[in-house]
Symmetry: C2
Subunit: 304 residues, 2 copies
């Protein structure tokens, strides 16, 4: 098994009702990679940062099994920066600042040894860049999972539709599913999106769990764990995606039944992520904690 | 087992994106009773209507095992009327008209033979009227379930708090739980509400399922079935409550484990309700349909 993750590595500025962080490690690939590291021994990362990106963050990624040979460091430029503020309900957030910096001219260069990856996670990026990754691969991966966002539906819909034809699994949230499909009802939205290419669709509903739509109308639902304290939802969706593809890569099984299991681990990882600021909680999850949390999910829906 | 249901019997005017009904059978006790009728052989109803209430509606209730000896018919007055309009997302609705009519002076008179009921479902009503019901009972029921709404938190909070001390299970939606507790987080909201009296709390989240909070921090989650068509959500919450208490009364078991099973049947019944206008779908559910739908819920969250 080999897992390639392409996405952003960033600085995030975060404001939640519980506190503020000016400039901490963030980015889709950061969360995906650190989450997947709980399931596989090695994650190959392709991303870009500026020369302001500290070695300590690179060391942290490496310590979580995220290999950074494919992390471009652009001299004289700055790392992507995003700043957001969450409101009390934690479901809505305002973007306060976005500085693309190195992302503006990002050309993902896939190292030779990564080009035959079996599992590929395309984190949220400009769809044309996601396509550039696929074009460089020498063999078709066993599984391609793609995440995207409403912005690309607004400004790069045709590019998004092109790349969607090439992926196996799409992960988006409920509002994005509605926007992409033009259908309000999520079952109908899923059907419309699956017709665009991805055989499998994951609709993330945040605190309301996630729906997995497979081929032939199969549906599975993974709940979110009701938590007494949600500290910071940043990265929860990427952590979810990382748990999903990490579990699949670990178990080497992309059947719908195994995707159901993967979704439960995805939800489990996301439940950790929101407990602290940024990726802090993902730095220290013990095997026992992971097993116990996964068991709580089983208990939550267990009826006999 | 004997099940007493007290609540409204009404005319509803409904507008949804799929059509309009000017004046159809509605009311909390109607949905609760018709839903519970799929689980028990007899539901004792206490409610009030005006002399404009047609015999056909009474016949319909009777045909669904809802006994109407306790249904007061007030000569010269009109039945409670509510008119609402749903928007495309079906989660929000505007009240277009409310005519209390007979409800304004409703004094629930519990027939002698109903006063020793084992299971009591207090549908949404003025809290002081719900209290009047409890005062008339000769024995404390095995289980008292109460439903309420945000309006009473606004205009009759003290009365609501008084009656909450006397009930075992409270069913409210997520926004109401937040309002009643003053806590945004639902786990913390549940804890605060349980401290007000009800040992058990059900938080209904509509299309996002329902949470069951039991004693000693126990939590269970019942999903909602992702439906391709949601026609009219009117009465879904009451149908849910009717399925819940109906199943408990049928099985004569009020343990937390059995409440979990009851919640799955509650969700099952609610999933039928939304498929047609008003209570129309509740008129004809076959045993096979009920069993098949219940199995779909198991399948939805089944992972091995």
């Amino acid at each position: 098994m080999s897992l390639l993750v392409v996405g952003t590595v960033a600085f995030d500025g975060l404001e939640t009702p519980f506190g503020v962080r000016e400039r901490i490690l963030g980015g889709s690939a950061t969360y995906i990679g650190m989450s997947a590291g709980y399931f596989v021994e090695r994650i190959n990362l392709v991303s870009v940062v500026g020369d302001d990106f500290p070695q300590a963050h690179i060391d942290l990624l490496n310590a979580h099994k995220v290999h950074t040979e494919g992390l471009q460091v652009i001299e004289g430029e700055k790392t992507f920066f995003w700043k957001g503020k969450y409101h009390m309900d934690m479901n809505s957030r305002d973007t306060l600042d976005t500085q693309l910096n190195v992302l503006e001219h990002f050309d993902p260069i896939i190292p030779e040894s990564y080009k035959d990856c079996e599992y590929l996670m395309l984190g949220n990026l400009v769809p044309a860049i996601q396509m550039r990754v696929l074009e460089q691969l020498t063999t078709r991966p066993k599984l391609v999972v793609l995440d995207t966002m409403n912005l690309w539906m607004d400004v790069a819909l045709e590019d998004l539709k092109k790349v969607l034809k090439k992926v196996d699994v799409l992960t988006i949230n409920d509002e994005e599913a509605r926007q992409l499909s033009g259908e309000h009802n999520l079952v109908q939205a899923a059907k419309a999106i699956q017709a665009m290419g991805p055989q499998t669709l994951i609709i993330k509903k945040g605190e309301h769990g996630a729906l997995l739509f497979g081929p032939e109308g199969q549906i599975f639902f993974a709940p979110a764990l009701p938590l007494a304290e949600v500290f910071d939802p940043t990265g929860a969706g990427d952590t979810f995606a990382g748990g999903f593809i990490g579990y699949l890569a670990q178990t080497k099984d992309t059947s719908f039944d195994n995707m159901k299991r993967a979704l439960m681990y995805a939800a489990t990882m996301a439940s950790f992520c929101v407990e602290k600021f940024g990726p802090e909680r993902l730095e220290h999850i013990s095997d026992a904690e992971l097993a116990e949390r996964r068991a709580q999910f089983t208990q939550l829906i267990h009826v006999h």
